[in-house]
Amino acid sequence: MAEPSDAPRAAPTAPAPGEAWLFCVRAGGGRYAFDAALVSEVVRLGTLTRLPGAPPFLPGVFTHRGDVLAVLDLCQALSLPAASLGASARAAVLRVGEWRLALLADAVEGLAAVPRRTLEPPPAGSGPAAAWLTAVGRDGRGPVAVLDLARLVAAARDRSLGS
């Protein structure tokens, strides 16, 4: 398991046979994961600039390596209480479809090699994230719910456009 760090993170190496490389975060007491290949690095969030009229899942923007990135609060996108934005808050910089963004959650756990044999279709009614789950699995740290992040981000944005 790789530890989160401020240093640029290299793309994950190929997983061992029978393992899926996922990137894990904690949100609302749950453990969520998505394709590790989406993540380029983990950064400590500095002061955010809040945007007037922004939906709750977009708590602000910040500069990173000369680019301005939008911060997406995974907790809010999953209709959970907002993630903490304390001084030690970290976010995963990733590319989801056409969007490059920083994903904020209650905690960034990092890379996890989840045995593919543990991955199963999500059970019906798996809480607020049910609509965005592609699988549930388990590794040495416990159960993990795998998200279709692209669909979640697109849906959150569509909701804000319709509101």
Binding site: T47, R50, P52, G53, P55, L58, V61, T63, S160
Partner: protein, 134 residues
């Protein structure tokens, strides 16, 4: 990109915001302006103490303005420091009046399109008035 653009920096409640100076007709005192043509509150929030107003001209040539706490000054920024909103945020905001960002001392500051803000708020007020009448 080259060239410089003057922007007006102002404080509105807890926020520091910017607007293109070329769009600001003048800086006024809310106590001396007609209250009906000033926005005391908008999607940008409400000033703690409205000591100044930024006056713009509408398409019809009429003056309208936004009450703010303080005008912090005019800064000339390089055109390269005027940035669009990140794609995820663009279009997700409830207002079209946040036209982009200005990089000031390395930090992004929302760039407000004052005429758009005032037009949006006036249209919203007109809608509210119609729904009240109905």
């Amino acid at each position: 990109m080259t060239g410089a653009e003057p922007v007006v920096l102002f404080q509105l409640g807890p926020r520091i915001l910017a607007a293109r100076a070329g769009g600001v007709e003048r800086i006024g005192n809310p106590r001396e302006e007609g209250a009906s043509r000033l926005l005391a509150e908008s999607c940008l929030g409400r000033p703690w103490v409205p000591l100044r107003s930024l006056i713009v001209l509408s398409e019809a040539g009429l003056e309208a303005g936004l009450c703010v706490d303080r005008v912090l000054g005019v800064r000339s920024v390089d055109a390269a420091d005027l940035l669009p909103l990140p794609p995820l945020a663009a279009g997700a905001l409830s207002t079209a009046a946040v036209a982009g960002l200005v990089m000031l001392d390395g930090a992004p500051t929302p760039l407000v399109d004052l005429p758009t803000l005032i037009r949006e708020q006036q249209q919203a007020a007109a809608r509210d008035a119609r729904s009240t009448d109905a």
